[in-house]
Amino acid sequence: MSPLLVANGLHKSYPQGRSLWGRARPAQSVVRDVSFHVDRGETLGIVGETGAGKSTVGRMVLRLVEADSGHVSFDGTDLSTLSPASLRRMRQRMTMIFQDPFNSLDPRMTLRAAVREPLTLHTSLGGAEKEARVRELLERVGMRQDHLDRYPREFSGGQLQRIAIARALAADPDFIVCDEPVAALDLSIQAQVLNLLLDLQQERGLSYLFISHDLSLVRFLAHRVAVMSQGVIVEQGTPEEVFTDPKHPYTRALVSAIPTPRPTRVSRWPAGFPAPGPSRPATERRSR
């Protein structure tokens, strides 16, 4: 079976503005000759540091950013040849989850309205069917029925990210670009969201393009990994290959910088030093 998504030779550069005398500065290229594919039901992880161009790649795949050159084809269709209308239909099947859950939802929309919106946009469901689907989706991501009429400000970051996932699932997509979906979340909440993504993949055969700066996260989640540096994919392979036997010097530097849970130095804690005593009523001193 052919891959679900193929990206071929993607290029993107941004103009640098003009100099004092009105001459154009040379354009800064942020993505150079990037090619990869994502199979059905597979997660491709893209790792890289700040400015590596990984987010730009994610946006070019969905044509949220137009590539200067190169092609993206989805399920055999070249996206660059699509008319705006058919692109919109195609977007039903491919969607995106962003890093900042606080900015990706409209603060004036209730939960119900937020999840309903893509249904109205992409499906021809009737009112009652839509309502049932909204409830089903929100229940799937672990939100309660009494949350339906609340606004985004009443939820925590992890809850908002789950709502964003429900929204992304509304049109029943095959492919989701996840751009740092848990970077803004606390560790314990991060695990909830990652588990949800894993479960959904299993249930629905979803494919993910998972973009992250966190190597251990990508290693955990991805079936294949692409390492980006300065706009170029420097290495691609299975997590095993990339993390245990990195070939490219950059990957090697990156992998060796992953913090380990093993103490790295001999403890300097003074022997017999009294640890902080159990809590006891102190002489309460009022400040200022």
């Binding site: 992890g158 695990a191 290693r219 902080p276 400040s287």
Partner: protein, 342 residues
Amino acid sequence: MTDVLVEPEVASDPLAPVLKIECLNVDFHTIDGWVRVVDDVSLVVPAGTTVRLVGESGSGKTVTSLAAIGLLPPDTTRVTGSIRLAGEELVGASSARLSRRRGRDVAMVFQEPRRSLDPVFTVGYQIAEVLRRHEGLDRRAARSRAVEMLDRVGIADAERRFGAYPHEFSGGMCQRVMLAIALACRPRLLIADEATTALDVTVQKEMLALMNDLQDELGVAILFITHDLSVVAETCDWVNVMYAGQVVESTAVDRLFHEPRHPYTEGLLAAIPDPQRRRLQAIPGVVPAPTSWPTGCRFSPRCDYAREGVCTSGAIPLEPAGGAQLTRCARHAEIELKGVLA
């Protein structure tokens, strides 16, 4: 300065902690009245050691560190308990006295290095400024010491970079400059609030190594606040885990990963992505807001080990759980918790 209190026991005892916080409470003034955000926190930082304060957002770790450097806004916060910096009590000290301590005896670096440097002054000026303030150096002496510090934190071509502005530096370089500012007057204590969180992994590694080197050289104690368990083990001696305004576990760093003694710590460890497992163990629910802390153990609603009664009534004390390790778990003697390292 006549108002400097150095207690004799401190001056003579080499083991005396640089920072000793006892029974610290912090309340914030909100529209709903006073709300407690830090509750009964005690911790020590002995000279020359690195202590991590770990917690998720809303755990009170940053508020605790701001209290330790006297940076909480006095009109909207109430601090009770005791914070001793090299023996000197900071709770109740005048703001003028606190400001003379800051930058000289205790310094701080923050999470966002680019936003923490003043964008309209040169980096050199910002280092020289703290030397002129606390050591009374003149312009020239401060300048040459500032260049020295820039060089020491690994900024190449320090003499020329003295006149550079923060926007000309990368995030990692800005954090090095912040470190130069913080350590310029050789403080006894450095508070690092998520100081490497915003940096790329390779830069984070360099930064941690630099802090380790500078600690060896200057003997400065470091209180390192982080939400990221993965960096906890790096160059660290002792860990305090905070949850919902309290320290729930206090332990040597190797024991944290081997033998956690609080279910919350165990939960955090299990949530670290591990390629050997295809599923993570998530802690259910969310961190409670300070206005709705549960009675009894604050972690009990999210805890698999919680029992009605013993965990849900009365305040749970922080008590010894073998050796110097402390835990705030009512059932720590009955339950068996798993670490991530054998």
